[in-house]
């Protein structure tokens, strides 16, 4: 018989913060409810990464996800995108198990950012600090619209739907 009773972890939602540090850098922070070892695995194992990397609101389906998280190893994510699939890929430049990870983003050629993630465990939770450093400020400005365009479209569609529903229920 198991004597230990575990309190069921409630859906405690931690805050995501975003700060534009300079012309070329953005820093995202978030505490994840779990040890650094597991969070690191979720970043570096394809079968885990593909479960969380693509927000549902982006309305995109991941066709394939390959991850070789070793220094010099590659990753490649392919999305179902019209008119043809879109691929995001790059190379791991730093892999320090459970504490630090860095990769390049090469899909848009040389202007891509380097993403560095650090994992800091405290009391069973892990502070994730994600740092995106762009080679130029123009590249960073462009990223603000580029990466999230699909999401905005989705929200626009939702807006339209809500307006339509409001109109029909008001009649």
């Amino acid at each position: 018989m198991n004597a230990r009773i575990e309190s069921k972890p409630g859906p405690v939602k931690n805050r995501t913060t975003v700060e534009r540090k300079s012309d070329r850098e953005v820093v995202v922070t978030r505490t994840i409810n779990g040890p650094a070892r597991i969070v690191f695995e979720a970043f570096t194992k394809a079968e885990l990464l593909k479960r969380w990397w693509v927000p549902k609101s982006m309305g995109m389906t991941l066709l394939s996800c390959e991850v070789d998280a070793r220094v010099g190893g590659k990753y490649r994510l392919v999305f179902d995108h019209s008119p043809e699939p879109a691929a995001f890929f790059g190379t791991y430049v730093e892999v320090k198990p459970y504490s630090r990870l860095a990769w390049t983003n090469e899909e848009s050629g040389e202007g891509g950012p380097v993403t560095t993630v650090t994992f800091e465990e405290k009391g069973g939770k892990t502070l994730v600090v994600l740092h995106e450093s762009y080679p130029s400020k123009e590249a960073l400005d462009a990223a603000g619209t580029g990466a999230a365009d699909a999401m905005v479209e989705t929200f626009d569609q939702l807006d339209e739907l809500l307006v339509a529903l409001g109109e029909s229920s008001g009649q």
């Binding site: 953005v26 779990g34 479960r51 927000p55 619209t145 990466a147």
Partner: protein
């Protein structure tokens, strides 16, 4: 002297899960959906704006103007700076479109140029939305794995 300003939080109140942003005045209107349409057209101004926001005194000036319009003299007193010093800061903010000034008689009044500030916040908001959603999903994956590991441990101990 700069004010003990540090970080100012802007919490998006219309979101189910608030997203905390740093370095923006508290009084920015929150109308994100309509804003998203504007953002793409006005990228060129972003650099000047972010550079303007990188200084604690200038963020303090914006916050002050968020409460009420103020003259250069008011601001100089408030921030204990010379008129020339304050004028320089206001100049940077004005160039970035974050502040507008109007001279009536001998008094130059400064006002918040809110529209530009909304663009910056909208830019960051998009970024924040993407990562917030990602991390919510990551949380689920990690919690599931942590639970599984603990139950495996218990089984092994039996």
């Amino acid at each position: 002297m700069t004010r003990p300003f540090g970080r100012v939080a802007l919490v998006f109140q219309d979101r189910e899960s608030p997203c905390l942003l740093d370095s923006f005045p508290l009084h920015t209107p929150l109308r994100w959906r309509t804003l998203n349409h504007m953002v793409q057209c006005q990228q060129a101004h972003l650099d000047a704006s972010f550079a303007a926001l990188s200084d604690a005194t200038r963020r303090g000036i914006l916050e002050r103007l968020g409460h009420a319009d103020a003259s250069i003299t008011d601001l100089a007193e408030k921030f204990r700076m010379t008129l020339t010093g304050i004028k320089k800061h206001v100049g940077v903010l004005e160039q970035a479109g974050l502040v507008t000034t109007e001279k009536v008689g001998r008094v130059r009044t400064c006002k918040l140029g809110l529209r530009r500030l909304e663009e910056e916040a909208a830019w960051i908001e998009r970024y924040c939305q993407l990562w917030d959603e990602r991390f919510d999903e990551l949380d689920k994956v990690v919690e599931e794995l942590t639970r599984k590991e603990k139950s495996d441990e218990r089984k092994n101990r039996k």
